[in-house]
């Protein structure tokens, strides 16, 4: 590993500090040198043409308000925000390559000082298929994730510090407002009681639904895995069929099924009783229960599929050894199967927990559009994310929504991070390797 202590830098490495690729050229690595040089030229060109403007616009968020009636083009603050983020990321990328360029020159200098030849370009390429294979493989995913996932998240974080939303949308100019949105959140008294109530229900919901779905899925996988079940593919097709129909359609179907005019109530009325309001305004616990059952219906098939795949990967020799030792079926399950599956799927458990915590669709489709007494613009089955939707998207208060998302996110990420880092899947990754 090339050390970068300044006083030990070779002269090639130092020259690379000033002009990318110079160090490589000095080592007679022409192709690599010119590549780095080309990157630097390209970066400078980009910066001069677009970069400066983008950064300046990012800071001011536009100065000229557009007026479609008068044909005035004006600045679009939000586009400026996002292009600013884009440029900042591009600068970061460039910086990483720049540092890499210096390190590379230093590494070659070290090789030379040990009496070896600098690497040929063909050998460098081969490295990318061997030691550096992970770099090759991870390059595209990282770029993709950065552009389509990280930029939106950063964008949203920045939005929380502007006043974007409601009537302040393009062509109006948006401005930075610092922590105003957060101050607003804290100062509204109606907020805190609703927030706590919804948070409590949200946590209960996430824990219960994850627990139920996981063990139901696992149980199904084990069931299907039994010797006496044939043909396996056919039996498994039933949950797969449930999985194949899009979630929102099944949610709408369930909503209708439980409504006053729906089939279930029709049967009840035909039997001579009065209809039951499964999902209506009074049905707090009934609606919550239905939510859990419906969610189980929707989510269990995927877990079943995953667990099936994992189960088939257990080394049969473990079982053979256990049978030789005289272990019962139950013992085999608890000592071999269960730990193995848990180990492999614990990260999934965490992402399922987060997914259920932020499960917008279930209560939006099943029971959307009710504001209960004692809640500020929410109902008693709404999760934090539904409340977020009512407050921000429904009413277009984007900046407040972003601020609330930030708060929700902080809570969930802290919990998950703690659990994940303490889990064996993270600490002892090599258990089964």
């Amino acid at each position: 590993m090339a050390s970068l202590r300044v006083n030990k830098l070779s002269k090639q490495a130092i020259s690379s500090c000033f002009l990318m690729g110079l160090g490589q050229l000095l080592h007679k690595q022409y192709i690599k040198g010119f590549l780095y040089l080309a990157i630097e030229v390209g970066a400078i060109y980009f910066f001069v043409q677009y970069g400066f403007d983008n950064i300046r616009n990012f800071i001011t968020l536009g100065t000229q308000k557009a007026d479609p009636w008068l044909g005035v083009k004006g600045d679009n603050s939000i586009i400026m925000l996002i292009m600013g983020i884009f440029t900042l990321l591009a600068i970061l990328f460039f910086f990483v390559i720049y540092i890499g360029n210096i390190k590379d020159a230093q590494k070659t200098s070290d090789r030379v000082s040990r009496g070896l030849e600098p690497l040929l370009f063909e050998d460098e390429i081969k490295e990318f298929l061997d030691e550096k294979f992970y770099k090759t493989v991870l390059f595209l995913p990282i770029v993709g994730v950065c552009v389509f996932n990280i930029i939106p998240i950063i964008f949203m974080i920045f939005i929380a510090f502007t006043n974007y939303g409601d009537s302040i949308v393009p062509p109006e100019l948006v401005d930075w407002v610092g922590f105003d949105n957060f101050k607003k959140l804290l100062s509204l008294s109606e907020f805190s009681s609703s927030f706590l109530k919804i948070l409590v229900w949200n946590v209960i919901w996430a824990v219960l639904s994850t627990f139920i779905n996981y063990f139901a899925g696992l149980g199904l996988a084990l069931l299907y895995n039994k010797e006496c079940v044939k043909p396996k593919a056919l039996w498994k097709a039933f949950p797969i069929l449930a999985y194949a129909i899009p979630g929102f359609i099944t949610l709408l179907a369930f909503k209708f099924m439980f409504s006053y005019g729906g089939p279930i109530n029709q049967l009840i009325v035909n039997a001579g009783n009065s209809p039951i309001g499964f999902l209506d305004i009074d049905a707090k616990w009934m609606a919550r229960l239905i939510g859990l059952v419906v969610n189980m219906w929707i989510s269990t098939p995927t877990i079943m599929l995953l667990a099936s795949g994992i189960l088939s990967n257990i080394d049969k020799s473990y079982y053979e050894a256990a049978i030789i030792d005289g272990a019962s079926k139950f013992k085999q399950f608890t000592k071999i199967t269960l730990p193995f599956v848990l180990f492999s799927t614990l990260p999934v458990l965490i992402s399922q927990f987060v997914g259920n915590f932020n499960n917008f669709g279930i209560f939006y489709f099943l029971r959307g559009g009710l504001y209960m007494d004692g809640y500020f613009l929410a109902s008693d089955t709404d999760l934090l994310i539904n409340w977020l939707y009512n407050l921000s998207i429904d009413n277009n208060y984007y900046s407040i929504g972003a601020a609330i998302s930030l708060v929700i996110f902080t809570i969930t990420s802290i919990i998950s991070l703690i659990v994940y880092v303490k889990s064996p899947s993270y600490k002892q990754e090599d258990t089964y390797k």
Partner: protein, 279 residues
């Protein structure tokens, strides 16, 4: 002794099959209702007798494919098929590669990346939708199916943790044996680990294929013209008096997914571990 064992096995089998039947009914039942609804003559859901339509006809299926003036279902179906096939191929490739790299290699940035991706996945997604929309307008990818494919595939590696969990359970002793024989990491990945991970590839392929069929948020955001819609958005647009058509359309979505499942299912069984390392 053996008579007792086979008797308890017999009871076990009966109970198992009983549970299986209950489970199957539980999952089948709403789907069955949807299927029945798609065969209903009347468009309105309220003219049913409990769970069963009063009259049956193949009309909805016919109109689904022929009445394309307002609701161009065949076009939507084609669009979604295209998007999901490419997404499946691209996503599976990217995710498996990512998960493999994260599982097999030790490099400095690894643990930080793992923690970061975990955290990033927790952001409520619809706030980021505005940003995605704006980016797409700048890249000129609105009203383009490739925009959707790009976003689905680019975001897929974020979910690598599931696949990594699978790779973590594959023993590295084979890898080491191969290395001694002089194989590069690339060759080990291609020739050894990939064949071993058929079950997880199947899982990834199936889930990434299915997602575009059920997602309506992103297509609704990026596709403005009705002929470009995917099935999910298109069905959302269907009026309420057209429930049987809605049901028929939904049922049809299940068809390619179930076909894909049956096709891939033979790859799910992976009994090779035994004996591969011994000797």
């Amino acid at each position: 002794m053996s008579k007792k064992r086979s008797f308890s096995k017999y009871i076990d089998s009966i109970i198992t099959h009983l549970i299986l039947i209950i489970v199957s009914i539980f999952f089948l039942f709403p789907c069955l209702w949807l299927v029945l609804a798609s065969f209903s003559k009347s468009g309105s859901i309220y003219s049913y007798d409990g769970f069963f339509p009063k009259e049956f006809s193949l009309n909805s299926f016919k109109t689904l494919f022929t009445d394309v003036g307002l609701y161009n279902y065949p076009e939507w179906f084609k669009n979604t098929l295209l998007i999901s096939v490419f997404t499946c191929l691209l996503s599976t490739f990217l995710v498996i590669a990512t998960a493999y790299a994260m599982s097999r290699f030790k490099f400095k940035a690894r643990k930080p990346i793992m923690k970061t991706t975990l955290i990033l996945g927790m952001f409520p997604s619809f706030m980021g939708m505005i940003a995605v929309y704006l980016l797409m307008t700048q890249f000129n990818l609105i009203n383009s199916h490739w925009g959707l494919i790009l976003i689905y595939s680019a975001g897929a590696p974020m979910g690598y943790l599931t696949q990594k969990g699978f790779f973590d359970t594959i023993s590295i002793s084979i890898d080491e044996a191969a290395k001694i024989d002089g194989a590069t990491n690339f060759q080990i990945f291609l020739k050894i680990n990939l064949p071993l991970s058929k079950p997880i590839i199947v899982y990834t392929a199936l889930t990434s294929f299915t997602w575009p069929w059920s997602d309506f948020i992103l297509p609704k955001l990026l596709l403005k013209e009705k002929d470009l819609y995917t099935v999910a958005v298109g069905l959302m647009n269907l009026g309420e008096t057209e429930f049987s058509r809605f049901a028929a359309g939904s049922v049809f979505i299940a068809v390619p997914i179930v076909i894909l499942y049956f096709f891939l299912t033979k790859f799910m069984v992976n009994g090779m571990m035994a004996g591969a390392v011994k000797g």
